[in-house]
Amino acid sequence: MKILSKIYTFLVFFFLYIPIFVLIIFSFNESKSTSVFTGFSFDWYLALLEQEDILNALKTTLILAVGSSVISTVFGTAAAVGIDSLRKGWLRSATMGVTNIPMMNPEIVTGFSMMLLFVFASKLLGISDSMGFGTLMIAHITFELPYVILNVLPKLRQTDRNLAEAAQDLGCRPVQAFFKVVLPSIKPGIITGMIMAFTLSLDDFIISYFTNGREFQTLPTIIYSMTKKRVTPVIYSLSTLIFFSILLLLILTNLIQYLNEKKQNKTSD
């Protein structure tokens, strides 16, 4: 039974990683072929540095991810505090229902429907080419907000309401009480929400594809247009770099988490 489950685990992970192995190996290929390995070279990494459109798209993607995740975190936390203070009733359930829509709806419908809104609005305002960074930003904030709210809300519910009142009794103004008492206790939720928002924005293709106005490229949309043509291994070298950055990021965050848990265990001993 033990051996069987080991073999099974190996097979599943093998399945999950074959394409990734393939792209890493072929990113070092000497020739242009994506199925026969002819020799080792760094050519495709050097070629990547010369592709200005890719580098520009990378810059846009990072700015968009940082900007939209920061805005949606601040906005979403405020909204979560607001929702938490709503009494149970139609307004609360309506707000929660609306919050769930972008998560439940297929991405393609979210993207397509926002595109219709932007097209209509630009017709109304008489602007011919309205889609670009602004519309991408609005779209990304909109689909990230629910993830922030749904990560912060449970933490708010766990926070004792009396604590904020106690702080106010001890002379804090309500805003001070929020920053000194409530915020520290919901911080883990805010951080998880922000990381989720950031990674979702970084990786989003479908919604960006419908709201970027076809001219303004993010990394996923440029990859899409590259794979429509005959692909060069440049895309592989790019993906390999992305893979290792994500791996590094994941290991780092897990290490920090692990060390924190260890420290907590020590202090509690």
């Binding site: 074959i18 607001g82 707000t95 909109t142 996923p220 994500i246």
Partner: protein
Amino acid sequence: MNKSTSLKTKLLNSPYIVWSALFVIAPLIFVVYYSFTDIDGNFTFENVLSLTAYTDTIIRSVWFGVVSTIICLVIAYPIAYIMAHSKAASQRTMMIMVMLPMWMNFLIRTYCWMVLLQDTGIINTFLGKLGISPVHMINTPGAVILGMVYDFLPFMILPIYSVMTKLDPSIVEAAQDLGCNRFAVLRKCVIPLSMPGVISGITMVFVPSVSTFYISQKLGGGSFELIGDVIERLYLTPNQNNVGAALSMFLMILILICMAIMNKFSNSSEEGMVI
């Protein structure tokens, strides 16, 4: 005091409500509006009626979605079980390993499968070296479903795994004490208690696989168009937004019906995160 809190509540809520109304509700209203109007804005049923031309596409999308969801469930359930019963350190490593491919762009992952499955691709080159004649894999329904399973498998593993880790081991022990063998424990305790994870896994795989585009374009070679591909095609053709809106509306209703059916099976009304 009461007055000031209600003012605070209003101040905190109104920006979010306005934002949602503008960018969540309004777009959906536009989908409905465009579905029932022509290019000049006159009321018409033509867009909705023209959807009958896509009956094959719709049936195929639902069918592929169902098949890939079932395959994902069959693969994911044992692996989630194995993960939840491993040592803490290896659980952490396996979690990272499941999440890692998820954060790679799905376009690239799908493209890699195309390279693997091609007639002159890596798998066939490898088979050739072993003296086996090449197998035609690309541009078949199987290839499209393989792409879906590959892309969405982590969405099935993670929720099932997270439910299983929260499962109280004393329940399993109690069942064993009461005379259950391995199978009975699985059938009577583990499976029923992990149902919430299974249900959220099913929705998290089914929704993206029914609505996906790109996968079938690359792995199906254009001969197995799905709903998502049609919406994309209509978006790229000038003046077809109204039909696209009608199809989007249809897809939304289809998903809503499936969700309603799924919700019948689960009674959780928690306002929280799944993962």
